[in-house]
Symmetry: C2
Subunit: 222 residues, 2 copies
DNA sequence: AAGTGGTCTAGACCACCTT
DNA sequence: AGGTGGTCTAGACCACTTA
């Protein structure tokens, strides 16, 4: 437990953010068993910080669904198994479907042009096997479109869980044919958006989420 | 600003919970203007507590969408206007629709019996004009059904926003014919559930959310 | 260059569980 | 009653903004 990886404050962002990010990675990496107690004092010692930033990090991870806090009782690791991934992707499907449906009639020609540009950057990164670039461009692509729906609250919920899924993706990667499939799905989505066909766009996005989930679950099984 | 309502710790629950609940009520009650800075030191003084519980309360209210925090910048009140209410109810519609669809095939005879019993308690409270009882039974009714979907993460997101909507309901009440309409919608939902008709149940729940939103927005306009 | 206000630390306090 | 561990306080620290 004590071979702690010290948290160093290189950049100017708060310590609780670093603790949160590292703790997320360690939970997803299996350092803490499912259901294990996360004792604040232990974590504070482990990361070389005091208790408060740890508390804040735990609260934020609870918002992502990774951790469960009971008042006056403490925090536990929530099990990140297939059921959990399925749940998160079900939320994605429902909310991203909603957002794309609302966004479709509101997209300007400039929005569509920018989406195409980002999609091309995604394709370039994908073809080079640049996992990090792929994830970044992919998020940009979806974020731009969903933003136009004008539902900041729904977008926030999605983005809160996105970091978690990205973390798993970085660990497990994509399946051999998944990148090509994503490109195809993105292109079809762009076509539906250009036609202002909200219904098709919604069902494409829902399928997109379902396929992403299937691929991630499959990668995690290996 | 300083005629503070002291937070007293009557029961055994944490101070941050009380600060959170009172701050929520005050934000929704219009004590803090939309977009106003929420300075931690001010709030700490106002409630007679130190800064940390205020920070925690703000974090949780951010999870509900009521407050926006920027690291190293502070917290602001998010405007609770019609657009915000619409956004929250859109999230409800998407997620509750998902949960009832998943729950329908899994409901046991005992579940349905219990739902009917809660629904009858709701009707009794409604007919007596017991607003508090109505809200409580209504939440119990939905919670029981959604729980069976087995998506704890989605349920948590819904419940996190429920307190906020309840707070608005307590303030503005229901429209003259809304209680009767809710009873009708609940009964139709129960019938669909008994028929294990997930598709109908989902569309009933989505409509239910839309109608609830329309009524609340109308009540708030007065 | 000082001021404002968010963030962090150390330690006290207190709720809950065990004996 | 004692222990464990979550919660709270007071004040120091530091990031960001004004001039």
């Amino acid at each position: 437990m004590e071979p702690a990886t010290q948290v160093i404050n290189l950049a100017g962002d708060p310590i609780y953010a670093r603790v949160r990010d590292q703790l997320r990675q360690e939970i997803l990496g299996g350092v803490f068993a499912a259901g294990a107690r996360l004792k604040i004092a232990d974590l504070a010692g482990r990361y070389g910080v005091s208790q408060m930033p740890v508390r804040e990090a735990l609260q934020q991870l609870q918002g992502e669904g990774l951790v469960l806090i009971e008042p006056n009782k403490g925090a536990r690791v929530r099990k990140v198994d297939e059921a959990f991934i399925v749940n998160v992707y079900e939320i994605f499907g429902a909310l991203e479907g909603l957002l794309i449906r609302r966004a479709t009639p509101l997209l300007s020609a400039a929005d569509l042009r920018q989406s195409r540009a980002i999609e091309q950057a995604f394709e370039a990164a994908g073809k080079q096997g640049d996992l990090d670039g792929s994830l970044r461009q992919n998020q940009l692509f979806h974020h731009l479109l969903y933003q136009r729906a004008g539902n900041a609250e729904a977008l926030e919920i999605i983005e809160r869980h996105w970091g978690l899924i990205d973390c798993l993706r970085r660990k497990h990667g994509f399946g051999p044919r998944r990148i090509a499939a994503v490109i195809d799905e993105h292109r079809r989505l762009l076509r539906a958006l250009e036609d202002h066909d909200a219904k098709t766009a919604e069902s494409l996005v829902r399928d997109h989420c379902a396929h992403a989930r299937e691929d991630l679950v499959e990668q995690m099984r290996e």
